[in-house]
């Protein structure tokens, strides 16, 4: 058995994901947290600890924003920690919640993720210019999209993947998002639309990429004893994994995310998963760009290296396919309030496993799902394995 205590997710909450929301970061956090608690039939006083996940302070525009958000996150008079692994934060935060409970230190933990990217004006892109090395990279005029384009291009080159194949991911996820009530960019689009959209940084085009968003998400974690008291269908955290690769991203071959594989292996080992494609019923890999879904499916060992485009083309990754990928609509469809988007993926697996995903519900009887996020300088992988 994993850990001293088995840990379950017993509730989840989300706000809308939109380019601009009126609520402050604190208020967004509150809305998501309150919904998660209500859905679990629990109250704030039942929470013994709180974990916050949020991406750079440079979005919200508050130094130490974890501290600033604390009351909205429900941390009043409670042990409270913020964890931060760039874009990987959203899936990493429930891992931090997991050890709060699995260690036996707490019976419950409220896991929060928040992002208010619109505060950075006129465009949150600015905040991304400070993620680079100030001496060797910022003087070149770095832009976030550049580096993903470099990675995408390398991936395409190495496996001889065409843009048409990659665009299918965007088409699928934006369509899936039409069924998600919080989604920002659900749409019916075609491969042609993607290929004809504005070139941002070749090979990245406008419709290859997820938008910036405001939003918050929360999940409630409980120890086995508490979970069985409050719900008949807890969803168990059976595997956790995370990994970071070297800072020197220009010294690595970007065609394959070794760090995601390393994180996945850690999580699968804990969950006792030996044959991922067979034992995993659905996955929510991180998809801020369409190629990333493919890249991450491979890193998650859901298929062989270079095989993800083929599976996508064959429809395997559709909701009614053999291995549904991003049934939520992902970041491409739902929007990308960085940390909140990662936790949205975890919430999606939670709802899918409980059969509560409504129009998004995948058929069959899913028992095991995986969510993954990715961050830093194409460097970080965080993975969670959930089981019914």
């Amino acid at each position: 058995m994993l850990g001293k205590k088995r840990v379950a997710i017993v509730g989840a909450g989300l706000t809308l994901f939109r380019r601009n929301l009126k609520e402050t970061g604190k208020e967004l956090s509150y809305e998501a947290a309150k919904m998660a608690l209500d859905s679990a039939g629990l109250e704030l006083r039942d929470m013994q600890s709180v974990v916050m996940g949020s991406a750079p302070d440079a979005f919200d525009g508050v130094h130490m924003k974890g501290e600033y958000l604390a009351d909205g996150a429900g941390a009043y008079h409670k042990p409270y920690t913020r964890v931060f692994v760039g874009g990987g934060t959203g899936v990493f935060t429930p891992l931090a919640g997991w050890w709060h409970v699995a260690s036996g230190q707490f019976d419950t933990c409220l896991v929060m993720c928040e992002e208010k990217m619109s505060s950075c004006y006129p465009h949150p892109q600015y905040a991304f210019t400070t993620i680079f090395d100030p001496i060797l990279e910022r003087p070149i005029g770095m832009n976030l999209v550049w580096i993903f384009a470099l990675e995408m291009h390398r991936y395409m080159h190495k496996h001889n993947v065409k843009k048409e194949q990659i665009a299918l991911v965007s088409v699928k996820n934006k369509r899936n998002a039409l069924d998600h009530p919080c989604a920002q960019l659900g749409a019916k689009i075609t491969v042609e639309d993607v290929l004809n959209s504005e070139i941002m940084c070749w090979p990245v085009q406008r419709l290859d990429i997820s938008p910036t968003s405001d939003g918050a998400a929360a999940v409630v974690l409980a120890s086995e004893d508490v979970a069985k008291e409050v719900t008949d269908n807890p969803v168990w955290i059976d595997g956790v994994g995370w990994c970071i690769d070297s800072t020197h991203w220009t010294n690595r071959d970007l065609y394959y995310p070794d760090y995601v594989e390393c994180a996945a292996r850690m999580a699968y080992k804990m969950a006792g998963i030996k044959n991922p494609p067979k034992e995993i019923d659905m996955a929510e890999p991180y998809d801020p760009f369409d190629y990333k879904e493919l890249h991450h499916m491979e890193g998650l060992l859901l298929c062989k290296k270079g095989e993800a485009p083929k599976l996508t083309a064959e429809g395997v990754t559709q909701r009614n396919g053999d291995l549904p990928i991003c049934p939520s609509g992902g970041l491409l469809g739902c929007g990308n309030p960085i940390a909140a988007a990662g936790l949205m993926k975890v919430s999606e697996i939670f709802w899918q496993l409980r059969g509560e995903a409504g129009k998004r519900q995948i058929p069959g009887d899913p028992r095991t799902g995986v969510a993954q996020a990715w961050g830093d300088l194409m460097q970080y992988g965080s993975v969670i394995v959930l089981r019914r």
Binding site: T24, K26, L44, R45, G61, G74, P134
Partner: protein
């Protein structure tokens, strides 16, 4: 430890840069209503938690103690009491202020919390001193905490 160190101080390079951007913060659901009340009606409001039976100033969307959504707003008046204060003589850049500034936490009767603000029209302050908010003329108000110009002693 590294096998060599910098021993010539002139060889130790530094690189200058910043992390500066423009920020536009929405005042939020509670904040917008609070500052509109000050701007348009000259009223300082609090929000009541029916479960904890306390009135929060500044008003929030939720009770930080129990997470109840706060719907009931009450006028707490412009008069309050100094809970604590300080006299600042230096500015954020470390320079000496031409005139010291008194910062204080002002509490309002029957309310939990209060407002952090400046005390004006005096160079003295004390804990327990009664003060009143002096608002800027309506035309100059911008829906900001600075729509209150300062708090003035009532004694």
């Amino acid at each position: 430890m590294s096998l060599e160190k910098i021993t010539n101080p002139l060889s130790a390079r530094h690189w200058m840069g910043d992390m500066e951007a423009d920020y536009v913060y929405t005042l939020g659901v509670a904040g917008e209503r609070f500052f509109k009340e000050i701007k348009e009606n000259g009223r300082i409001m609090g929000a009541k938690c029916p479960l904890c039976n306390i009135v929060f100033v500044p008003p929030r969307m939720y009770c930080e103690k129990c997470f109840e959504k706060l719907e009931e707003w009450v006028d707490v008046g412009r008069k309050g009491v100094i809970h604590t204060f300080t006299i600042a003589t230096i500015d954020v850049d470390g320079s000496k202020l031409k005139k010291p500034v008194i910062f204080a936490l002002i509490k309002f009767e029957g309310a939990h919390g209060g407002l952090i603000h400046k005390i004006g029209k005096t160079d003295k302050a004390r804990i327990g001193m009664k003060v009143e908010a002096i608002l800027r003329p309506p035309k100059e108000r911008k829906a900001s905490i600075n729509d209150i110009e300062y708090f003035k002693p009532l004694e």
